[in-house]
Amino acid sequence: MSKINFLKPDKSNLYTFLYLGSFLFFISVLDVLLNSFFNINLTGFLPNFFSFLLPLILGFIGLYFIRIELSGIKQLDLLNKHINTNNFNAVLSLLIIFIILKSIPPVLSWFFVDASFAGDSKDVCTGSGACWTYIKVWMRRFMYGMYPNGEQWRINLSFIALALLGSVGYFATDRFKKYLTLYYVVIYPFIAFLFIFFFISGGPVFFDFSYGIIAAILSIIIGFFIPSKFKFYYFLIVPFGLYVLLKYFIFYEELIELGKLDGLNWVETGAWGGLSLTFIISFFCLIFCFPIGMAFALGRRSGFPLIRYISIGFIEFWRGVPLITVLFMSAVMFPMFLPADFFIDKLVRCIIAISLFEAAYVAEVIRGGLQALPRGQYEAAKSLGMGYWRMHIFVILPQALKLVIPGIANTFLALVKDTPLIFVVGLLEIVGMLNLAKTNPEWLGFAMEGYVFAAIIFWIICYAMSKYSYNLEEKYKTER
């Protein structure tokens, strides 16, 4: 056995250093562990300051002793490589270990041990922990807002149905795969809208918008017989004309009578709220902002100067202002811009505002993808004789969108995280409902529980979305 130099641990006395170092490290961790879990202070006999620092010093010395390069012991080398590369890293690692050890007991006791779960009144919440009873009692409000209790099955049913309809893509066979885009972009949103309108809102069977639906369906059917040369102009003019024709000249009296056949009980949008409103708003904004954003991204790269400048103006305007002022605008300024007898629902105004706002961000993301494509792709498509739309739909956009999946996912995440802002116009989704519940005189003082609850829900949603986007990215990654 050679001479031991404690300032320079080396391999020749490996086991001496290893045992000594691990012992010191173990002591330091044990001290903190006992202190935080069982409130036993091993070093209580020492002065306060020194007793506080002792675990750090002991652990540091311990880690210094076991920092022996190429010791030949696999675990030790791994440990040294990962948490113990030099003095600075050793201190940081120790600090993090201690912080985790210190913070586990209070967090656990607040969440579970001292928390109250049972009962349905405030009286059970006497412990020092969280009062989950509060969440339990208010759960329906947090989920459904002011939506009448007896009618909430309508929301549940619609959401389940829409979730099932939305998962069609997973089960589609190859034969139907080519129709999936059409399904998700046009048909599915339309079904969703019908569900929301007739089912959740309980709208009348016939209403003003029905003319629009009939007009749209009719014009699409007629559209099949129009030569493709005029199709663009046809779809620009005819649906609107049909709508006016239907509404004011043909069916007016009859449909007014039909409109009185009410469906389910009408629940006005002001009563909607909670997490379900978060989902409804995110869903529709997500669906609307994507095509609008794509249109403006193409517009910004268009060869027509006027279209380009209009697109740039649109994008830069929405990107330059905070969402809260946009919602302010939709609440106080937008009604001034409409005819006096023309009323648009608050929720719809909100959805329009958020969609336009996020569309500008989507447009910039997609533009990034369009710019990243090599010019050869455009040239190759053109040399095959493809026109503008054909080239973009079949060659450019599929590649560009693949490139920008992470960016789009980030924008959608931002959208979901922005929905609480609708409190500005008086709609209360989950965060708004929390603030309302917090001011209830019977349930004062439980703000923390409410916010933690909402934070967990949002975190799960957002984290799942970001992981999903990561999977998509991996799935669609193509070799170049």
Partner: protein, 383 residues
């Protein structure tokens, strides 16, 4: 002239649609305003505002004009943005570097921080800090002093105020130091380029920055004293600190949540920037004999910054725009003071919302113009 319908048609339709929509809106706005007897104009800005603002950087009360109220709101917005940007940058850079650390624990800790704060809506975080966390602070009479001079209480943070004598001398000394540093840097660079000799610029700079202000204390008659906040009883159970500077809890909650939230994004920018520098660059620099510090300073950082700065500026812009969430916790920023209180009082919806939007818009457009210029300047000149 080659006049083709194919070229003109789509443009014409687009412009027509835009003009029609705008025309429709303006026409309705005019009709509506006539019906309600509202007149359009910005004359109200000079009228007396007759409302009070809780926290303002400039002198303000109800007798001042609406324009002054606008300025108060704007300054408050800028204040919280600047605090947020500074804190977020410091935290973001630290976390970004920590995410690249070979140390497993530090790496995971930083990743946890990023994933945690990034995925929770900012508004929720603001509410959490303001309504839940800061409410747990002690009342003014129970507060323990921090470092013996400042007090963190439920009514805000009270810190000592600086009382300067001959402040301008001190200020000029700092300006002089900065000018001297710039001159010395330019000189040192020239010297290195001509004869290849390096001067310890950093040491000289720090020395200058310390010595000149110190001299101003010794010779210039500059005096600095502190006004320490003192507890004062307002009523039997109501206490407040007087003297010193008080930061309202709204400001603290807002600055804290803004910086914690934005720091996650800045951390990701920093990480992406450093990772974006090719490994070959590092190896090439090492192989020509640069020390690790030099590699970082002369090779990695200049290239990483080129990737880091544009998205980071975007985050600064986002932070500034997000500071408008202040309205939710009644911090008197531009949106709350102007688009909130002033709008309620005057009813001038179009004017006020347009001014507010225009302010944010000009802020972000000027920054993005600056960014584009900067990008063009630092872009690698490829031949």
């Amino acid at each position: 002239m080659n006049f083709k319908l194919k070229d003109i048609g789509p443009q014409l339709i687009t412009v027509l649609a835009v003009v029609l929509v705008f025309g429709f809106f303006t026409y309705n706005a005019q009709v509506n305003m006539e019906n309600r007897g509202i007149d359009f104009g910005y004359g109200f800005l000079s009228q007396e505002s007759s409302f009070d603002v809780q926290f303002s950087l400039i002198e303000y009360d109800g007798s001042h004009s609406y324009f002054r109220a606008y300025l108060v709101g704007l300054l408050n917005t800028i204040l919280v943005s600047v605090i947020g940007i500074i804190l977020a940058t410091i935290l973001g850079v630290i976390v970004g570097i920590a995410r690249l650390s070979p140390n497993y624990l530090i790496n995971k800790f930083a990743a946890f921080y990023v994933e945690f704060f990034r995925n929770i809506p900012l508004l929720l975080q603001i509410f959490f800090w303001y309504f839940a966390a800061l409410r747990a602070l002690p009342l003014p009479q129970d507060a323990e002093p921090m470092f013996g001079i400042s007090f963190l209480t439920i009514k805000g943070l009270f810190v000592p105020a600086f009382i300067w004598q001959n402040f301008n001398v001190f200020f000029y000394s700092i300006v002089a130091a900065i000018i001297a540093i710039i001159v010395i840097r330019a000189h040192a660079k020239k010297k290195q380029e001509t004869i290849g000799k390096q001067t310890p610029v950093l040491l000289i700079s720090i020395g200058l920055l310390l010595i000149l202000p110190l001299l101003s204390f010794l010779i210039g008659g500059v005096r600095l004293s502190f006004e320490i906040p003192v507890l004062k009883q307002l009523a039997t159970t109501s206490f407040i600190y007087e003297g010193g500077v008080s930061l309202p809890p709204e400001l603290i909650a807002l600055a804290l949540s803004l910086s914690l939230y934005t720091a996650t994004f800045i951390a990701e920018c920093v990480r992406a920037g450093i990772q974006g520098v090719g490994k070959g660059q590092k190896e090439a620099a090492a192989s020509i004999g640069l020390t690790p510090n030099q590699v970082l300073k002369l090779v990695i950082m200049p290239q990483a910054l080129r990737i880091i700065i544009p998205p980071t500026t975007n985050q600064y812009l986002n932070l500034t725009k997000n500071s408008s969430l202040a309205a939710a916790i009644a911090y008197p920023d531009l949106v709350l003071v102007f688009a909130g209180t002033a709008l309620m009082q005057t009813g001038k919806a179009i004017e006020i919302v347009s001014i507010t939007m225009f302010t944010y818009l000009s802020l972000s457009i000027s920054i993005s113009i600056l960014m584009n210029w900067y990008n063009r300047k630092i872009a690698i000149q490829e031949k």
